[in-house]
C-alpha cells in the first residue's frame, strides 16, 4: 500500500529540485530542463490523486499536460536557436537589452 502523502512528498521534492535548477543555472538550456522537472512533479501529483480518488480525470490531464509540454518545448528550443544565432551565447544574463 502506497501512502498518498508519500507520493505527494516525492512530487514536492521533484518540484523543488526543478526550481533549484531554474534558479541555479545561467544557461538557458539548463533553465528549460528545470522547467521540465517541475512539470514532471506536477504530473506525479495528478497521477497519484487519480489513483487515490479512483477517477480518470487526473490521468487525462497528465496526457494533456504532455501535449502542452511538447508545444512549449518546441517554441522554447526554437527560441534557443534564435538567441544562439543572435549573440552566439546561451547565458541568460547576456540578454539584458530590449533592443539588441
Amino acid at each position: 500500500m502506497i501512502s498518498f502523502g508519500h507520493a505527494l512528498a516525492f512530487a514536492g521534492a521533484l518540484f523543488v529540485l526543478g526550481l533549484t535548477c531554474v534558479l541555479l543555472h545561467r544557461q538557458i538550456l539548463m533553465i528549460l530542463i528545470g522547467v521540465e522537472i517541475m512539470l514532471n512533479g506536477a504530473s506525479l501529483v495528478f497521477v497519484a490523486a487519480s489513483a487515490y480518488w479512483r477517477q480518470v480525470d487526473g490521468q487525462v490531464f497528465v496526457i494533456l499536460l504532455m501535449a502542452i509540454t511538447a508545444a512549449e518545448v518546441a517554441v522554447a528550443l526554437a527560441m534557443v536557436v534564435y538567441l544562439w544565432r543572435r549573440k552566439r551565447t546561451l547565458v541568460a544574463d547576456e540578454f539584458n537589452r530590449m533592443r539588441g
Binding site: 500500500m1 502506497i2 501512502s3 498518498f4 502523502g5 508519500h6 507520493a7 512528498a9 516525492f10 514536492g12 521534492a13 523543488v16 529540485l17 526543478g18 533549484t20 535548477c21 534558479l23 541555479l24 545561467r26 544557461q27 538550456l29 539548463m30 528549460l32 530542463i33 528545470g34 521540465e36 522537472i37 514532471n40 504530473s43 506525479l44 497521477v47 487519480s50 489513483a51 487515490y52 480518470v56 490521468q59 487525462v60 497528465v62 496526457i63 494533456l64 504532455m66 501535449a67 502542452i68 509540454t69 511538447a70 508545444a71 512549449e72 518545448v73 518546441a74 517554441v75 528550443l77 526554437a78 527560441m79 536557436v81 534564435y82 544565432r85 543572435r86 552566439r88 546561451l90 547565458v91
Partner: protein, 168 residues
C-alpha cells in the same frame, strides 16, 4: 512488493534528478534526466496508469529529451563554452533554501502525517482512459491540438533567417 518498488523508484528518481541539476555539461544533464524520467514512468505504472507510463517513455524520454540533445549537438555546445558556475555568494542562500525544503520533504516521508490515507490497488485500463479523453474531454483535446498548431507556426516564425542589420 509494489510498495517497496515505489520507494526504490522514488529515491532513484530524486537521485538522478539531483545529479541532473548539478551537471554543468548539458548533455550529461539530459542523460541523467532521461534516467529520472524512466523511474518516474515506472512510478506512474505502479500508481495504476499504464498508458501514461508508456507515453512518458515515448513522448518525454523519446521525443522531448531527444529534441534537447538534438539542439545541444546542433549548436555544438562544447563543455568549454559553458560558463563558470556562480560563486558561493550567489548559490549559497539558494542551496540553503532548497536543502531546507528537501529536508522537510524527507521528514514528511518518514513521519507521514497522512499515514491512514493509503492508495488502494488501482488500475485504469487504457480503453477507459481513451473513452474519457475523446468523449468528456473532447473539447480539451481540440484546444490542445490548436495549441500544437500554434507552436508549430511560432517555431517556424522564430526559425526564419535573421535580417541582415540584426545579424551580429
Amino acid at each position: 512488493m509494489a510498495t517497496v518498488l515505489f520507494y526504490i523508484l522514488g529515491f532513484t528518481m530524486l537521485a538522478a534528478t539531483l545529479l541532473c541539476i548539478t551537471r554543468r555539461n548539458p548533455v550529461h544533464a539530459v542523460i541523467y534526466l532521461v534516467a529520472g524520467l524512466f523511474a518516474l514512468a515506472l512510478m506512474f505504472y505502479l500508481l495504476g496508469a499504464p498508458l501514461v507510463a508508456a507515453w512518458q517513455v515515448i513522448v518525454y524520454a523519446g521525443a522531448i529529451m531527444v529534441l534537447f540533445l538534438f539542439i545541444i549537438m546542433m549548436l555544438g555546445l562544447a563543455p568549454q563554452d559553458v560558463p563558470e558556475g556562480p560563486g558561493w555568494q550567489r548559490w549559497g542562500p539558494l542551496a540553503l533554501l532548497s536543502s531546507s525544503i528537501m529536508i522537510c520533504t524527507l521528514l514528511l516521508i518518514f513521519q507521514d502525517p497522512m499515514a491512514g490515507q493509503q492508495i488502494d490497488d488501482f488500475y485504469l485500463a487504457p480503453q477507459v482512459l481513451g473513452e474519457a479523453l475523446f468523449s468528456r474531454y473532447a473539447l480539451a483535446v481540440e484546444i490542445v491540438s490548436f495549441q500544437l498548431l500554434f507552436a508549430t507556426i511560432g517555431a517556424y516564425m522564430l526559425g526564419r533567417p535573421l535580417p541582415k542589420d540584426e545579424d551580429q
